[in-house]
């Protein structure tokens, strides 16, 4: 007899749909700016964490994802501030530039695997930070670039104004999270996801079965780069200031922790859960008035989660590796059940 878990039913689609609806309705339920900004920022981080997880699922452990955020953020900030572009073309341009950098860097750097790749990306992250710090004529160095909210969009009957409150920005972020989630979900479900798994789980075997490792690693790195760059833009324009120290090694480490704690078994669910929980937890901690206790508790929680989850799974993996693992489904094999 065949026995297996059909992961599809572990988290019913309706629950996910309800969750999405609930989040979409948050601005209706509360107009509290603090809550909104917390959700916006965790949304931005979740996009970045999804990118990191994609690269990880293709077998590479990148410590430089914050650099792509910085590249995206600086591209749009420079375009809007120094060259007075409007936000929207700059936003798209940022994704493009970040993706292009990921493509070019990836083609050189992804040859190297394992811990070496992590250290290279870590070094790249620092190089980006130093350039941002020292290229004062363009980036204004440590003083940082002052960015603005996107221009209002006039729909004729209604004007979407980003200056009044954070609600439009909330939906913009939600849109990006949804788009990223959709794309990554499809990647995980499709043949591409399978191939990533092959490349990650056994390089030598994958290569001898006709998969060109570099091609798939570069695809993963580039896709991650594009979305990370877009998220970086949102980050820069939401905080209205962008300094070199905002996106460095430290943030790369946070991204990694969010991804691992959320669970890398799924490309979408894990990163979203991980980044929302950790970010919201972290920002509640900053309200405590004792210096250092936030970091202490944050670190303790991370370690505890890793300690008490069974055999290295993230939060999401706990209730099934739903959504994106290379899975196979019951109906594909129904034809065989009769014969046994």
């Amino acid at each position: 007899m065949m026995t297996y878990i059909d992961y599809k039913n572990v988290v019913p689609k309706t629950i996910i749909a309800l969750g999405v609806l609930l989040i979409a309705l948050v601005p209706v339920l509360t107009a509290n700016e603090a809550t909104l900004s917390m959700l916006i920022l965790s949304g931005i981080w979740s996009v970045v964490v999804m990118g990191f997880t994609l690269v990880l699922r293709a077998g590479q452990f990148s410590l430089g994802q914050a650099a792509f955020m910085a590249i995206g953020g600086y591209t749009s900030a420079i375009l809007t501030v120094q060259m007075s572009w409007s936000f929207w073309p700059a936003f798209l341009m940022a994704g493009l530039v970040s993706g292009l950098v990921a493509l070019l860097v990836g083609m050189v750097v992804l040859r190297v695997g394992g811990i070496y790749f992590s250290i290279i990306t870590l070094a790249l992250c620092e190089v980006v930070r130093i350039i941002a710090q020292q290229w004062e004529s363009v980036t204004r160095g440590t003083r940082g670039l002052i960015t603005s909210q996107p221009n209002p969009i006039n729909l004729g009957f209604y004007e979407i104004n980003f200056f009044i409150n954070s609600v439009p920005y909330f939906y913009l972020t939600l849109g990006l999270v949804a788009l990223t989630g959709l794309v990554f979900w499809r990647i995980g479900e499709s043949r591409l996801g399978r191939t990533f798994a092959g490349v990650a789980l056994n390089q030598v075997l994958a290569e001898h079965q006709g998969m060109y490792l570099m091609r798939y690693r570069v695809i993963a790195f580039t896709v991650a780069g594009v979305f990370t760059g877009l998220a970086g833009t949102l980050y820069a324009h939401f905080l209205t200031v962008l300094t070199p120290t905002m996106l460095g090694l430290w943030q790369s480490i946070q991204i990694l922790i969010m991804s691992i704690v959320g669970g890398i078994g799924s490309l979408v669910g894990g990163p979203i859960v991980g980044s929302f929980i950790l970010y919201i937890f972290g920002s509640y901690l900053t309200r405590l008035e004792i210096y250092g206790i936030q970091q202490l508790l944050f670190g303790a929680v991370v370690v505890l989660v890793l300690l008490f989850l069974p055999k290295g799974t993230g939060l999401v993996d706990l209730w099934g590796k739903f959504w994106t693992k290379v899975i196979w489904r019951e109906k594909e094999f129904e034809m065989d059940e009769g014969e046994e």
Partner: protein, 283 residues
């Protein structure tokens, strides 16, 4: 040619990086993980030396010893409680990264966030014709040398050193010959973390101390390891030396650009020769 003072500063930094990098390589070659909290052990070492001198009034060498032993114990505790109970390289890596936050937060709570400085522990200046060196700096170099000699003796002439060398080369074979890898890795973790604390303690009197000083030495010794070759003990020492000098001497000529040079150098080394300058066997 930069003035002699710059070279001496380079040497001082090299000493710290060397000691730390050595500990990291030691841990890596036996446990197979990079301990990302190494920088925080450095910071704790510096604080312990500070308090041992200012509050307990211990002499400098003795307080170094105390800091080393205490942090070594802490490292063993981390190994026993956390690292042993998590499976998978990835997850252990993430856990040690989480510990960075834990220790920095803890240190800020206990020791406070403001900068602390030790007044010169060993006052006085040695005057040579061309330049002068403070006794403190001489002490740094000589303590580092002493530590290196002790380590050399330990690795080459004791049973435990033999076990460490054997395990780092052939873990399975060493286990067959009766080396308890479990116990050995605990000891090595202790030694590695103790070395980080010593590195912090040795240069504590020269620089300011705060809970966040661990990050840069950690990064630098990581790079030193890469330059020397991950897993190579000689490599760690040479890498540390090179890095310290690059940091000071190149910085003298082209200021901030030295860092870019450094990172680009590391990237190139990893791309061209991932096993580093002293190509130890790839893990």
């Amino acid at each position: 040619m930069p003035p002699a003072g710059i070279w001496i500063d380079g040497l001082i930094q090299s000493c710290a990086y060397m000691t730390m990098a050595f500990g990291m390589v030691l841990v890596f070659s036996i446990l197979g993980i990079l301990n990302w909290t190494h920088g925080q052990f450095y910071m704790l070492g510096a604080f312990m030396v500070y308090y041992a001198i200012t509050i307990a009034g211990l002499p400098f060498p003795l307080s170094l010893l105390v800091a080393g032993v205490l942090v070594a114990g802490l490292g063993m505790l981390v190994k026993k409680v956390i690292i042993d109970n998590i499976t998978g390289e990835l997850y252990v890596g993430a856990a040690t990264m989480g510990l960075i936050f834990f220790f920095e937060g803890g240190a800020s709570m206990v020791f406070g966030m403001q900068d602390k400085g030790l007044a010169m522990v060993l006052p006085g200046v040695l005057n040579l014709d061309a330049f002068s060196v403070s006794h403190q700096k001489i002490a740094v170099v000589s303590f580092t040398l002493a530590i290196m000699i002790i380590l050399y003796i330990m690795l080459n002439f004791t049973r435990i050193g033999l076990a460490i060398r054997a395990t780092s080369q052939q873990p399975d074979a060493a286990a067959l010959y009766g080396v308890s890898v479990e116990r050995l890795s605990l000891i090595v973790m202790g030694i590695g973390c103790g070395l980080a604390a010593l590195a912090g303690g040795i240069i504590a009197p020269l620089y300011t101390i705060n809970p966040f000083i661990g990050g840069i030495p950690m990064l630098m010794s990581l790079l030193a390891i890469v330059i020397g070759g991950i897993g190579s003990l000689t490599g760690a020492i040479v890498g540390g030396l090179i890095l310290g000098f690059i940091n000071c001497v190149v910085a003298y000529h082209i200021s901030y650009f030295s860092e870019v040079v450094l990172f680009v150098l590391v990237i190139i080394i990893l791309l061209v020769r991932p096993q580093g300058l002293f190509g130890a066997a790839l893990k």
